[in-house]
């Protein structure tokens, strides 16, 4: 899996990330967490790029590294033609009007002491956008667009809202400067399925109405498939596979993707649960395995996988995989092929 290489990249991207490396020191041991170890991807203008993988594989770190929080160790991050790795702090600050982030826990990411109106207004005040009236009108408009009635809600504080409503408010705040891109880090993971569906539909609508490009990070593969045009699968700081959603789920080429898909419990008792299981849990990113990082858990690993890191390559149109022995003409696990009525 340990995907290196650039075969999957195209030119006309809004965001492009090349060989991104992020490391964190482990106390004073001299060791380091290899959180993200040389990943490359693009987000085309107007697309939703999904990023999946188990906890600790580096999804959030990747999202934050794009925003330069903290500055990555190495690599290139280009947004809208601008090289962010070389940019000064002021440029980065400006950039944040064009790329916004929303998070899993909306309640704690909203200032509890401020009213909803002030929370959404703040970015406009900081950037001195328009007149006071124009700002207030803009706030009301985005609140309405996310399904919050400003007449009822604007004077209330975040704790007076449910998790789903707080997520809508944080989306409104992210939208108010009309950014080009939003990085959504597990935005529906803490919500009940009913509310999750509302927020997913809302994001689809807003993407269209505001001409957004989305990066959608989540660990739920069904959620990611639903919202994404393309999906990237990460494992232990590396990218294993990236493909248009329907292709990835129909014919996973990486053994890890296949295992992930087979592990999902399907809401249909007539589906016999697939028996493709992996042993154990992902190893520590402090001392990742040599060769392909998935090799200790991979059902198809050979000696080559234990020594040589696979390069990412195209196995079908727009379908890229970093594996020495990809699943050819792969068939989706049974869970993906049939569901209930």
């Amino acid at each position: 899996m340990a995907g290196t290489g650039h075969a999957h990249l195209r030119g006309d991207a809004l965001l492009s990330v090349r060989d991104l490396v992020v490391e964190f020191p482990v106390g004073r041991t001299g060791l380091k967490v290899n959180a993200v170890s040389g990943i490359s991807f693009d987000a085309q203008k107007g697309e939703t790029l999904g990023v999946v993988g188990e906890s600790g594989c580096g999804k959030s770190t990747t999202g934050r590294a794009i925003m330069q929080i903290p500055r990555p160790k190495s690599g290139e991050v280009t947004f809208d033609g601008q090289d962010l790795m070389q940019a000064d702090t002021e440029t980065i600050r400006r950039l944040r009007t064009n790329i916004q982030m929303i998070f899993q826990d909306p309640i704690s990411s909203l200032n509890p002491r401020r009213s909803v109106r002030d929370i959404v207004l703040e970015p406009l005040n900081i950037w001195k956008v328009g007149t006071k009236e124009e700002r207030l009108a803009r706030v009301n408009k985005v609140l309405e667009d996310v399904g919050i009635d400003p007449a009822v809600a604007a004077d209330r504080r975040p704790y007076q809202f449910s998790g789903g409503q707080c997520q809508r408010i944080s989306i409104a705040r992210a939208l108010v400067l009309e950014p080009k891109m939003i990085i959504c880090d597990e935005p529906v993971s803490a919500l009940d399925v009913s509310v999750q569906a509302q927020v997913l539909n809302l994001l689809e609508d807003l993407k269209r109405d505001y001409s957004l490009t989305l990066m959608f990070i989540a660990h739920d593969l069904a959620v990611v498939k639903n919202i994404s045009d393309r999906v990237a699968v990460m494992y232990l700081g590396k990218m294993c596979e990236i493909a248009p959603s329907d292709d990835l789920y129909r014919a996973p080429a990486h053994h890890y993707t296949n295992v992930l898909l087979s592990s999902i419990p399907v809401a249909d008792p007539t589906v016999t649960v697939a028996t493709q299981r992996v042993q154990g849990e992902p190893p520590s990113p402090v001392l990742p395995p040599a060769g392909c990082r998935f090799n200790p858990r991979c059902p198809a690993a050979t000696d080559r996988c234990r020594t040589e890191e696979p390069e990412i390559r195209e196995v079908a149109p727009n379908h890229f995989v970093a594996c020495h022995h990809p699943i050819h003409g792969g068939e989706a696990p049974v869970s993906v092929r049939s569901t209930g009525s």
Binding site: E54, S55, S162, G164, D192, V193, S194, V195, Q196, A197, Q198, L200, N201, E204, H219, D220, L221, A222, V223, K225, N226, I227, S228, D229, S245, D246, Y249, V259, L260, L261, S262, S263, I264, P265, V266, A267, D268, P269, T270, V271, V273, R277, V278, G280, E281, S335, V336, R337, S338, T339, G340, S341
Partner: protein, 351 residues
Amino acid sequence: MSTLQTAVRRETGTLLEIEDLATHFATPGGVVRAVDGVTFSLDHGQRLGIVGESGCGKTILSRSIMGLLPRRNVIRKGSVLFEGTELTTMSLKDRQKIWGAEMAMIFQDPMTSLNPVMKIGKQLAEPLRIHLGSTRENAQEIVLKLLQDVGIPEPEKRLEQYAHELSGGMRQRIMIAMALACGPSVLFADEPTTALDVTVQAQILDLIEDQCREREMALVLVTHDLGVVAGHTDQIIVMYAGKIVEIAPTATLFSKMKMPYTEALFQSIPKLADPSHTRLTTIGGRPPNLVAPPDGCSFSPRCPYATDTCTKVEPELQQAEPGHLFACHYPVGSDRWNEVQVSLGRRSGGH
């Protein structure tokens, strides 16, 4: 994988009979009707799922059955018969004998139940010595066997470790080993895999399933995830606002669901088999405040089929077929349901 002789049960018939069980909490904001008149039974070896959105009473129901409730400001009603013995009136001391030995529980976060300063080996051995009167050597042997049964690599090494040294999946395995230690006849698992990654979740669900089968142990699996119950239960209860709104054998529930809430829950999950960008059907609003639940059907404020009858008259549980009950005036398939489906454009008219 073999099992402990002491732990294998061979009974059949009814294990638990729950009747009109209610648990209310007196709070400054009013009385919270967390569980409000629940009746069902569970057979030996049967696997039951309890599903519903958060706050609908799943956890309090399972704790009410076990008798694991806070002592203050709790109003309880109803009956819990465990193999014919009434548990609700039993002394704490007698109930403690039943916990572990007959009924065991595992939770979403194993850290809340594992002792952070006691070695794993000792924590596992203690209940054996208390409940089964095992000697030290004997207990140690059983513990090693249990750790093997729950798929823990290098069990000898684990005996000397503390909970924080283990991964989330490993801790949940330890919790399961502790729960199994005295060979309970029923395991209550409250969101046991919600905090785990999907590959580890699959391993833990497989483990619970294998252990239930080998030990002929009944299971009460509480989860918000319809996928989890679909593959791992025989029977499912759908709860809403502290009540059972539908109960059916698992296959029946998915193929012939009657209650609009069950339908809505099911429709709102993104399906892996659907193409990307499939529009999700949503349920508006949120579950009601349990201090003042709505009159009539508690789902009526969110239900697309609701009429005046629904907002006034509470629907009783009625039978669709033996073993399948639902509480609704206009169930899936009824004339009213068809009418609304057509008007919502979900179904074309004329059939």
